[in-house]
Amino acid sequence: MSMHENSERPYVSVPVDTDFEVRSTNAMCVNQSEIDEPIYTKWKYSVAGILFGIILIKSEVVSWYRIQEMFRLQSFHMFGVIGSAVVVGMLSVLLIKKFNVKTIDGEPIKLEDKKFNKGQIYGGLLFGFGWAITGACPGPLFAQIGSGALAVIVTLFSAIAGTWTYGLLRDRLPH
C-alpha cells in the first residue's frame, strides 16, 4: 500500500487485505500460494522458465516467420503447438482437480475463475495487432533477447511502457 496515498488522505484507512484483489485484477497468472517462500526457493521458477525458454526456441514459436505464416494460414505449425498445448493443459488441470493434487509443499492447488469484461475484446484485438507486428507475445520477447536478438530489448521496454500507459488510463477505458 502506498504511504503517499496515506499521508495525503489521512482520514481514509487503507484496508490491508485488498492486495490480492489489486494483484489479480486484469491478471491470469497470480500467486495462489499462502506460503511465504524464502527468496532462494524462487530459483525453482527460473529452472521452470529455462525449460520453457528452451521449448519456445526449439519449437520456433518465437520466430517472427512462424507467426506470419500462422496469420496467413500458410502453415499448421503454430495451430498445432497451441492446440496440443491447450489439450495437455486441460487434461492436466482436470486430473489435478479430480485427484485433489497438492503442491510439493502440501498446499491444495487453487485456481481462480475469471470474470468477463470488455477489455478481453478491445485489449485482445490490440494485443493481436502487436503480436502480428512483432511476431512475439511477452514470453517470446524474453526468449528472443536471450537468444541474442538484443535489439528486441527496445520492443520489451516499449511493451513495459504500454503496460504502464494502460495502468495510467485504466479508469477511463471501457471495461
Partner: protein, 187 residues
C-alpha cells in the same frame, strides 16, 4: 548432440511440453501460468507513480520475474548449445512477399531488416519495434493476459472469458498481418 535435438522440434512435441508448464507451475508452487503480468510487476516495482493499478505488493509475485529471467536464459542456452544454426525454413509464399518489401532471406528468429539496431533508424523498423511492442504491453494488460495466460492457462481451466480473449488475439493478428502490415512493410 543428436539431430532430433538440434533440429526444430515438431508441433506434436513442443505443444504438449508447453502444455505441461501449466501443471508444473501449479505443482511446484500453486502458480497460475502466465507471462505478461511480469511487465506489470516491473511497472509496480520501478515506476508505480501513485497509479492505483500498480499499488500492490509486487514482491508477492516475484516468482513471475524469476520465471521470465529463466525464459531469457533458456533462450540463450537453446540458441547457443541446442541449435544447428541452420536457416529457418520459411513458406515460399511468405519469402516472396517479404522480398517484395525488401525484407531479406531468413537467418534467425526475426528479420534483421525489421528488428535490429539499424532498423530502429528506419520509419518502418521504428514503428514496428516501438509501436508493436507498445501494443503488446497495452493490449495484454487490457485483455488481462497474453497467449500463455489466456490461451493456455485460461483455456486449460475452461474459462470462457479466456476463449473470448484468445479469439480476439487471433482476429487482431489476422487483421494486422493481412490488411495493415502490408502497408507498414511498404514504408
Amino acid at each position: 548432440m543428436p539431430s532430433w535435438i538440434l533440429d526444430p522440434w515438431p508441433w506434436y512435441v513442443a505443444g504438449p511440453l508447453i502444455g505441461l508448464t501449466v501443471p508444473l507451475l501449479l505443482i511446484i508452487g500453486n502458480k497460475s501460468f502466465g507471462i505478461s503480468s511480469s511487465l506489470r510487476h516491473v511497472c509496480a516495482a520501478c515506476m508505480p507513480a501513485k497509479i492505483p493499478f500498480f499499488q500492490y505488493d509486487w514482491k508477492k509475485e516475484i516468482w513471475n520475474l524469476f520465471f521470465v529471467f529463466g525464459v531469457g536464459v533458456g533462450g540463450y542456452l537453446a540458441a547457443h548449445f541446442l541449435s544447428s544454426g541452420a536457416a529457418p525454413i520459411v513458406d515460399p509464399r511468405l519469402t516472396a512477399e517479404l522480398s517484395s518489401y525488401g525484407v531479406q532471406e531468413a537467418k534467425g528468429l526475426v528479420p534483421l531488416d525489421l528488428f535490429s539496431w539499424e532498423a530502429l533508424t528506419t520509419t518502418r523498423g521504428l514503428i514496428m519495434m516501438i509501436g508493436g511492442g507498445f501494443l503488446v504491453g497495452f493490449g495484454t494488460r487490457y485483455a488481462g493476459g497474453c497467449t500463455s495466460g489466456h490461451a493456455i492457462m485460461g483455456l486449460s481451466n475452461l474459462q470462457w472469458p479466456s476463449l473470448v480473449a484468445t479469439c480476439c488475439f487471433m482476429a487482431g493478428g489476422f487483421i494486422m498481418a493481412n490488411l495493415i502490415l502490408p502497408y507498414l512493410l511498404k514504408l
